[in-house]
Symmetry: C2
Subunit: 208 residues, 2 copies
Amino acid sequence: MKSDLLAATQATAPPSSRRALIAGFATELFHRKGYAATSMRELASVSGIEAPSLYNHFSSKETLLHEICFGMADAFVSTARRIAAMDLPVEDRLARAIEEHLRLLFSDREAVGVFVNEWRHLSEPSLQTFKSLRSDYEQFFAGLFQEGMHKGVFRQGDPLWLGRQLLLLMNGSVHSTARPDSEALADLGRRFYSLWMHGVASPTTQPD
Amino acid sequence: MKSDLLAATQATAPPSSRRALIAGFATELFHRKGYAATSMRELASVSGIEAPSLYNHFSSKETLLHEICFGMADAFVSTARRIAAMDLPVEDRLARAIEEHLRLLFSDREAVGVFVNEWRHLSEPSLQTFKSLRSDYEQFFAGLFQEGMHKGVFRQGDPLWLGRQLLLLMNGSVHSTARPDSEALADLGRRFYSLWMHGVASPTTQPD
DNA sequence: CGCGAACGAACGATCGTTCGTATGTTTGGG
DNA sequence: CCCAAACATACGAACGATCGTTCGTTCGCG
C-alpha cells in the first residue's frame, strides 16, 4: 500500500546490490559507535528500510560483523602469502609488506576500524577462527624479522614482539593520518620503513 | 530479612570501601566486554549485590566510565607535567617519558584498556574535556620531538605524528607483553627507547 | 505464477534506572 | 550510658524504553 512508491523507486534503483549497501552502512556504524552500541533499527534507518527487512539480506546482526571482520582478515592473510612467496631480500619484503598493509588499511578505513576493534564481539566458533587468522598474519611479520636477524640485517630481538608492535603502529596510524592518495601512501610506507629501520635519532648520533 | 547475614558479614567487612571495589569490577568488565556490552546487572552480580544497590555508590553507569577514564587521564597529564619541568637533555626526557608512561600503563592494565578503547562512550561535555586532556598529552610528546629536532638530536619529521605513533605503540604493547616486574619494566622502557631511536636495522647497515 | 523483498505488528528479553522499604550503623542529647 | 533520630546501604518490584528477532502478509518484477 503505502510502500508502493518506495518499492517502485528503491527496490529497482540500486545497481549495486542493496545487500552491499547495507554492509557498508553497517561498517560505518560499527566503526563510529561500536558493534554493541549499534542497533539494527538504527542500521535500518540509515539504510532507508525498516528493521525486519534487514533480515532478508543478513540472517543476524552478528553475520554483518562476521562478514566485515573476515573480509578484512582474508585480504590481509592472502596479501601476506603473496609477499612471502616473493624472491626478494628480506628487508625489501618488509618494505613491501608495510606498503601493502598500508594500502589495505587505507582502502577501507572503516572496515579496518571494525576489524581491529570489534572482532571480540564475534562468538564461537568464529572467534577462534578469527584469532587464528590474526595469528597467522602476525607470524608472517615475525618470520620476516626472524629471517632478517638470522641474516644479520636486523638487530637481535623478539621477532613476534616486533611484528606485533609494527602492526599496532600501522593499524593505529589510520586514525592519526589524513587520507593519502596513492603517492602519499607510498611515501607513508617509506616513512614507516625508515622509522622502523633507523629510528628517529639523527644519523650522527651514536647508538648505545 | 534475608539480608541480615550479608549485611552483618559484608557491610562492615571491607576496609577498602565497597565503592572502590565496584569501580574495580567495572573496570574489569568494561575492559573485557566493552562498556556498551556490560550491563549494570552483570556488574552488580560480580559485585555480590543487586543492580539497584549500585546506585547507592554511583549515580549512573556513565559515572563509572567517567571515573575510570579521567582517573587515568589525570595520571598521564600530571606525569607529563612533572617530566616537562625536569632539567634534562631532551633525549633523556624522552627516555624518562617512555619509562613513566609504561609504568602507568602496567600499573593498571585494565583501566588503561578502558581509557584507550571506551572513552568514546562518554557523553558531552565530558567527552570534550577528555579529548582536550588527551591532546595535551600528545602535545607533550610532540614537543619533545620538536625540541629534539631543533637541537639536531632527532631527524626531521612531523613531531605530532611521531608523538601519536609512539603513544600508539606503547599503549598497544599492554596487550602483547607479559606483566613485567619493575626490573623488566625498566628494560622494556629501554627496548622502546632504543627501537624508537635507532630502529631495527643492524648498526652496520647504512641508512638511506 | 512464484519469488525476492518490503512492511507493520508484535514477541520475549533485557536495558538503565526509580521507588518504597527494611535493616544495620553512627551519632548526639538527656 | 542509653535510646532515638539520622544516615548508609541493601533489597524486591517495577517502570518505560529499547533490544534482536519472528511472523504473516503484501506487492511488484520476471
